[in-house]
Symmetry: C2
Subunit: 370 residues, 2 copies
């Protein structure tokens, strides 16, 4: 195992949020101004869902939530590993793509109902590799089965000149219902005394891949570097993203309605600060890092503050519940096959996240999503 | 104006449906098998919507329709024209993208409620061109205003290595309601005696662009070729796609419930054969070709059969209504600012489309979408 010469930051890995974010803010303002159109149809938006992971509309008997989410660049790892090993990793990639949409949709309390596939290839010949294409279909269906959603249809355009030759741009849209309406969890009940339950990630999921890929270039054996006996870096990166909707559905059946949820994706644990309320989030128990995340942190020379501000570091989803529901929430997640920890508490105080075992603090200034 | 040496087919323009379609069929089968998951939530799919332009779920008080749609390669024309003229065409491109989703969603009788933006750039710097990015935002909002939909949010990923540098992959997802449920138009009432009303297109819309771009390469002045005085080929191609949801909403308010609708996109007028029923569609009135479509047909050396099998040829949307509603349907469209023609009739008989004024016939074998 090689140790790296210089630290590697996310900016160096080619993602510049300073250029994306001003556009995002302009777009968010324009988008907010369109909400009034819903009144013409007899409906209204749930304003608190603006800036949340999914957009929610009140249609009377229930709320409708919808979303579109991009996989990102994880397919580049799958493509490279396919060349190195001859295997297809697109079943897992399909799960990753659906997870991006479903895990966001459920944060607002929605039951995902319909997923649409967006598979934009660099050319028609992408679909000519039958093994890869069939793996994508099979993995997509399996993830729908796990999440109990209907796969409604989708798009399979060939976009030569826009998508690079031999590559595919994958995304998923998802529509769901918040039903009954008490399931809505946009944070209005979030407050001091709530517990923070963290659900295990399966690895890097689909965020931080630009960094992970840069790192592979530095390793003499690249993706085939063993990060533990029998497990290569590439295989570990390609562990499919955990699907959390079975947990949120099981919670509801058990009578637990989360006050808030955060899908820990881009911006890592800073996502725990997502809700606009001024509250202090104190973490007393830090879940174990998965092997691949520990490896990335070490190889990139990241301190804990940087690692936890970028990667999920072993916790893929956070559920904020009444303190008395915390242990049961964690147990229900475990019963669904996903490790979970009662990891912290919500307190009155300035907006900050304190990861006490690591001595790391993030404040409001560290996360601007709205 | 140059006349071309050899005819240009769609296959030569780089889109090979033979490679895409087998995968599509496998995916459609896998997708159909997931419908049973809806029962676990107390809902069910509208089976007739499988293979239609939008997927429909019965959630009790109304139906929910959802969709994701890709713009395609029209941005490549916008990029090239921006280089040639210094203007930004991305406001129109935004309308095109929303039109792809909205015009499909309304075919099943849905009122579009929420649009999500999918803007996947080749790198963060795409968003650094403020003029272009602001045009995209402004055009997106304006199209939402026209369609009276709420812009819920979206994704603006930077996908270096997947999307080509300097390019953007645009798509939109849309969710709507069919409310009241009588508005459902998946063709179960389509039958002999119905009239076919055709709504004018604004130009090429966003289908056939691969062919249109190939053609530009052949023209000595390329996109700056004048197709009529003061109108360049490039500008004409970039006329934004008509938005038809104001028409379908106005129809409902006037008490007209279409029996079926077809969005005339890829496969051109063959889309009139979309519904699986064995019916004959006889066209007696052919709308005027827009200038740009006439130019493409002439330059590509296409006969009518080929042109009408690929391009919209002046008709962007077809509405199948009771004969007695036909004239009023056309008038309501005109009142919305969109020219319309009572163009034909539905008859008992083998599945075929007869474009009588042109002597063109398409049969079931000419269109395989399911």
């Amino acid at each position: 195992m090689t140790s790296s010469a210089a630290p590697l930051t996310y900016d160096q890995a080619g993602v510049n949020y300073d250029l994306i974010d001003p556009l995002k803010i302009t777009a968010q303002r324009a988008a907010a101004a369109t909400a009034s159109h819903l009144a013409g149809h007899g409906f209204s938006e749930v304003k608190a869902s603006r800036g949340e992971s999914a957009y929610v509309v009140d249609v009377g008997p229930f709320y409708i939530a919808s979303i579109v989410e991009c996989l990102g660049t994880k397919t580049l790892v799958a493509d490279e590993m396919a060349t190195l090993t001859g295997k297809s990793y697109f079943a897992g990639i399909a799960q990753d793509t659906i997870a991006m949409a479903v895990n966001d949709l459920i944060t607002v309390g929605a039951t995902p109902l319909v997923v649409q596939a967006y598979w934009a290839a660099g050319g028609s010949d992408w679909f000519g590799d039958a093994q890869r294409a069939q793996a994508l279909v099979a993995g997509w269906k399996a993830a729908c089965d796990t999440c109990q959603v209907a796969w409604g249809g989708g798009e399979t355009p060939a976009l030569a000149g826009i998508v690079e030759d031999g590559r595919i741009d994958l995304a998923a849209s998802c529509t769901g219902l918040i039903n009954p309406k008490e399931r809505l969890s946009v944070g209005d009940q979030l407050g001091p005394g709530d517990a923070i339950v963290l659900l295990a990630s399966s690895g890097i999921h689909a965020n931080g891949l630009s960094l992970a890929r840069k790192l592979a270039e530095r390793l003499p054996q690249g993706y085939l570097t063993e990060i533990e006996p029998g497990l290569t870096y590439g295989e570990a990166l390609l562990a499919p993203t955990a699907l959390y909707s079975p947990v949120t559905e099981a919670l509801w059946k058990a009578g637990i309605a989360p006050h808030y949820c955060a899908n820990i994706t881009g911006h890592g644990w800073r996502k725990l600060l997502r809700h606009p309320s001024a509250l202090t989030y104190r973490i007393h128990t830090v879940p174990p890092k998965t092997a691949v995340l520990a490896f990335i942190q070490q190889q990139a020379g990241q301190d804990d503050r940087e690692a936890y501000s970028t990667l999920n570091m072993g916790a893929g989803f956070a559920i904020f519940v009444k303190a008395e529901d915390a242990e049961r929430t964690a147990q229900i997640s475990r019963d669904c096959g996903i490790a979970a920890w009662v990891a912290g508490t919500v307190e009155a105080g300035e907006k900050q996240l304190l990861i006490e075992p690591l001595g790391v603090r993030f404040s409001e200034d560290d996360l601007h999503l709205r």
